[in-house]
Symmetry: C2
Subunit: 361 residues, 2 copies
């Protein structure tokens, strides 16, 4: 498969209907694992890096990852394709920018991605639409067992799984949700909510995780501490207390907006749709911001004729690498601004009605 | 006539087709006159003020001003009606805010307004659409002669007509044009152009003259010096050199924009229309700004389905007093924001197609 063909696929986690989809864009769980008997990557010789990459690539090819599977050689990929993988959340920006032998196995409609030679030898990720932490975790455990059938991981009976960075030692598990907190943003309560999250040792980040700023009111919230807590504890605290708490905050903020500032809300949402449908030049930041308003409008039933699926897809498509692969040529930022506006305009007038519905909740 | 009925009338100078209407919104000429044998207003007793106001009101009623004529007693008018007269350029903000007996005679489809007891005993104004300084001046002379048939004005053979403020002494004539300079604004050359205008002793002001800031790229440019120049000199320099010079500046800036920044231009104009058609809350500043973009788009033939007449009318209607008189009730700024958005939305979707055309060339 050519990596640029990814732009023509619809990732499973982008579908429009999902549990708590009105606030939770996606759920993710990932494990960090390292091969026993091999040094951590920072201490590997070039030969060892190649050996690990080759061995894991071969293993991943035969363990039977779910669904259609492909392996992307990130080292050999050109920069635009690397960026494409980042935009689709299949690899981290760190892995894209790193050097040396590295890759990713993608399976199950992009719900599963296994990064090879990122920070650890293996990073296994399961990504699903809406609030599906349980299902992500169950799948992750299944994949972990599958891999352990073929590989021996570095493990200490005292510390648990050993990882390159001490914050991952123990379970090696990190869970996160991508939340759409636009009402909290609009009412100015977002800082309070995020402070509370940080007090609970959660990391709050932007769309592409570590080192990225929130755009379009999308916040990635993830657990920080892995050591000393069981996987079950991590998952259940996050799922049963933390995430529902933030969702409830956002729900109340939306209710308050509807009650007290309905016209201002309608104004924002109506303008957002109008600008997206009429712009001839638009940055990806502005697009994300306006799509975010539409997303809010949709969940409050203030928007007609656009489906959440369209908003999800556009959020992906308007990013630089997607845009350039979709149009089939490299473009300057100014050219991208024009192509982006054209894409959004067409999509919102033509395909905008497909995939309506805003999830349970 | 009730003053609030003004909102239902279309002033002559708002029509969509006018000479140089693509840049010149309107032309105005006015004379300042004072009655011989009476002190200037600042030195009048209350009795003298009443006497002047009464005498001039009576005279204006019988001289035969052109067309349907009415006299508004500004002192007796309620604040909203005074504001309405200001918004229609029939009285100055100074006269609206002043105290004591004062008024205005309005004639000829609002092309003629004669203020009584503003800064001088009489201020005679002729206002027309587009670049029509000659016609304004001719009408002003005719009205001056008409009034001199009934009144004796303070005149010195050395200084000319005597006025309360020395800057008006001499001819008492001021001519001005309201210019739409949005391309110069967009290219950043506006400051240079305005500096040049000021170097030529011109005053550059906002929509409502003295003390107002330019909004929506509309600039009022007027002569400053009256003393020592004949009326004919003032008019002809202004008409033949200054105004055409500025128009030419603006024309070149528009050409350059079309050539070098066509997409950015289309983007702005397209967004402006979309926001005006979709907003639920909008300030008058934003409305003027966006209407200004549409006006530019219209003159560059980048906008379809809206006439210049509609833009002119909306520019008037969205102002606070018009809005409140149109809806028939006093409103808070927030309520006005909503009513304004409703008005604009309806007007641009329904009546938007009437009165197309952007004037000569």
């Amino acid at each position: 498969m050519k990596l640029s063909d990814l732009t023509r696929r619809r990732a499973e986690w982008l579908r429009g209907t999902a549990p708590m989809g009105h606030v939770v864009i996606s759920s993710r769980a990932r494990l960090a694992r390292n091969l026993a008997g091999m040094p951590f990557l920072s201490r590997c010789s070039p030969e060892q890096l190649s050996e690990i990459a080759e061995r894991l690539r071969r293993t991943l090819g035969k363990v039977g990852l779910p669904g259609e599977t492909f392996y992307a050689d990130v080292e050999a990929a050109d920069p635009l394709d690397r960026q494409l993988l980042v935009e689709r959340h299949l690899i981290s920006r760190q892995q894209a920018d790193a050097k040396g032998p590295r890759g990713v196995a993608v399976a199950s409609g992009e719900a599963v991605a296994v990064m090879v030679n990122e920070e650890d030898h293996l990073r296994v990720q399961v990504l699903r639409a809406g609030l599906q932490l349980d299902s992500c975790y169950a799948e992750l455990r299944r994949l972990d067992a599958l891999l352990e059938g073929h590989l021996t991981f570095a493990f200490s009976s005292r510390f648990g799984y050993l990882t390159a960075c001490p914050t991952n030692v123990g379970t090696g598990l990190r869970v996160s949700v991508m939340l759409h907190l636009s009402a909290l943003k609009m009412t100015g309560e977002i800082e309070k909510a995020l402070r509370a999250a940080r007090d609970m040792h959660l990391a709050v980040r932007g769309l592409h995780g570590e080192g990225t700023e929130p755009t379009g009111d999308l916040f990635q919230v993830s657990n920080q501490v892995t050591l000393g807590k069981s996987e079950v504890e991590i998952i259940s605290e996050f799922r049963d207390q933390i995430v529902p708490g933030i969702i409830e905050y956002e729900r109340r903020a939306r209710e308050a907006l509807l009650k007290n500032r309905r016209i201002a809300l309608q104004d924002r949402i109506s303008r957002a749709g109008a600008v997206l449908r009429s712009a001839r030049l638009i940055s990806s930041e502005e697009t994300m911001f306006l799509l975010s308003q539409l997303r809010l409008g949709l969940s409050l039933e203030l928007v007609d004729g656009i489906g959440l699926e369209t908003i999800n897809e556009l959020s992906l498509m308007v990013q630089p690498a997607h845009l350039q692969r979709l149009t089939g040529r490299e473009m300057s930022p100014a050219e991208r601004g024009e192509a982006r506006a054209d894409l959004v305009r067409k999509r919102l007038s033509a395909g905008g009605k497909a995939g309506s519905g805003n999830g349970g909740g």
